[in-house]
Amino acid sequence: MKRKEIFEIIPFIFIETLFFTIAYLFLIFEKTYSILGILSGIILFSIFINKIPKLNFFLAKCFSEYKKLAIIYGIIFIIALPILLRNYPYQIFILFNAGLFALLALGLNWQIGSTNIVNFATGASFATGAYTTALLAIHLGWSFWILLPIGGLAAAGIGFILGLPCMKTKTYYLSLVTIAFTLIVYLLLNNLSWTGGPDGIADIPFPKIGNYSFDSTIRLLGLEIPFQANFYYLTVFLVALTFIVDRRLRYSRIGLAWNAIRNDEVAAECQGIDVTYSKVLSFSLNFFFDGIAGTLFAFCMSHISPESFTFNVSITVVAIVIVGGMDNAVGVILGALLMTLIPEKFQVFQNYRMLIFGFIILMMLLLRPKGLFPQTVRKYY
């Protein structure tokens, strides 16, 4: 028995390590060919696994048997990543960015993924959170930790007010409302004077714990970890939190109701589901987490301006959900990572970034409409 375990665990751990190493290298590589090399390597690797059913089966078995173990290892890797990247602050910053998008996408997933509401208001809600808290911090000097929930609530409030009437409209009309809303918010931010106009708001204080400011370098057993790691950890924490919330919502009558609405509104009504309420709920929840993400963004950038809240943000997040996978939190998070890392990695053709981006979305929709990681079946035991 023990021998068997030994023979399983060691290769398993090493395979997972291989995974992480590849991910790590992908992060730090700069040159296009090396990145392409890594990518092709990954593809070959996956083909290789599929070609050898034994190995494939073995991995599947391990992942099911030692799930906990695998997860723990993953968590350790995520926590240790900044230490490995200590010489690459930029990469940490990008990861922080990916985290932000993961937050936004997780929120939007409750709309597009669970309830099938095509919502393009992400830019607006993101902005609401960021600007509300930034203004409060500047004028009233409130601390980040108080403002974090406030940002969320402010956005949720807006979401509720907007949602209550809008959720009566359907499909295209609804998405048009959200698009219009995003554009309005952007225009207002640009033209109003008290939002700082196009210059936005500068000098937003960094978050502090006690008197440890988040823009100070972490010193840990002789290693110097760049300050971006602070934001990284904060984001990871929030994403984890949102992830848990997402799981709980999914495995609850609320999540079920959302899926019901996605499939058939009339039938849903006939199961006693208050469709309008559920929609508004998912809308407001989405806004809430967007607001939180906005707050995080404002305080970590310490300078916000309308350019960061354009319609493109909404499109990007929608794309993330679609690429990642409808109604599948893990997929969405991975999608966020892909959609932020790959454009960064191909800075080499800065010019062609958006074009490639557009193509990726199209290809995904055409070839794998359910996303890289389709929704999974609920198991109750």
């Binding site: 597009i112 099938n116 095509v118 009437p165 809008c166 009566k168 409209t169 359907k170 499909t171 295209y172 009309y173 998405s175 048009l176 409302v177 698009i179 219009a180 809303f181 554009l183 309005i184 225009l187 207002l188 640009n190 033209n191 009339v266 319609f311 499109i315 929608v318 794309a319 679609i322 010019n351 062609y352 958006m354 074009l355 981006f357 557009g358 193509f359 979305i361 199209l362 929709l365 055409l366 409409p369």
Partner: protein, 304 residues
Amino acid sequence: MTQFIEQIIFALMLSSTYALISVGFTLFFGAINIVHFSHGDVAMLGAFSGIIIYGLFRFMGSVPSWLITMVIFLLTFIIIGFLGTFFERTVIKPFRKSPLLMVLVATIALGIVIRESVRLFYPQGSNPQVFPKILPQVNYEIGRLLMRFDHLLIFLISFFLISFMFLFINRTKTGLAIRAISQDIEAANLMGINSDIIIAITFLIGSILAGLAGILIGSYQTVVRFDIGLMGGIKGFSAAVVGGLGNFYGAIVGSLILGFTESLSSAYIPGGAPYKDVFAFIIVIFFLVFKPSGILGRAAPIKI
């Protein structure tokens, strides 16, 4: 007074440009219940094809200008028509069975691709491109009021295009087929209508209209840029919705409302100019919330 009349004229011009786009949206939605979000970008392509063709003529030396204009319209007609149907085949057809969201996002992505391609592969693509003066430049002085012949022409052409389209839908056999599939595609198929071809034709017509719209918008705005399609598309769509999606008169009414809101608000509300789009979109939201079926649209009953 003169100023007011001028303002009205500008509003009308703006409205007509919106109408050209929004009619396309209405057509597509009417036919197969999809919103072709890159429609505005197709129009942009039309404008660019106009520029390119004009450029080609430059090399061919002296050709009478009316001929050039004719050819530009004709070729754009063909090119954009082809492109439009091509887009339908590749990007929209695959999603006919899948949820609305899919085709919506797909067309948005298509829009990105089109815009970026023009920006990257057209020489100096990110700069605004001057649109050639293909319409006769004649002015009339009426009192202090300056009337431009080409503006009048643009207005008339767009009017004719739209009414032609309207007749096509309502008077021809194909138009009948289009309306049939918009009612119930399965039934239409059973009646021996080849829905594939009809939808292709729908897109052909719509795209051609967009292409010509591009030319007209180009000659009204005098410059075009790779990204005019995005806003143009959204405005066109909004106009269609305000008027009642799927209803021709609606599209026109909606365009008029948007056009007038924008130009009048920027002219008569002090400091209102930068907010004109805000006003426009607030009206859009208002309509969506309180009368989602639009001014002339009918609310569809639930089918059980």
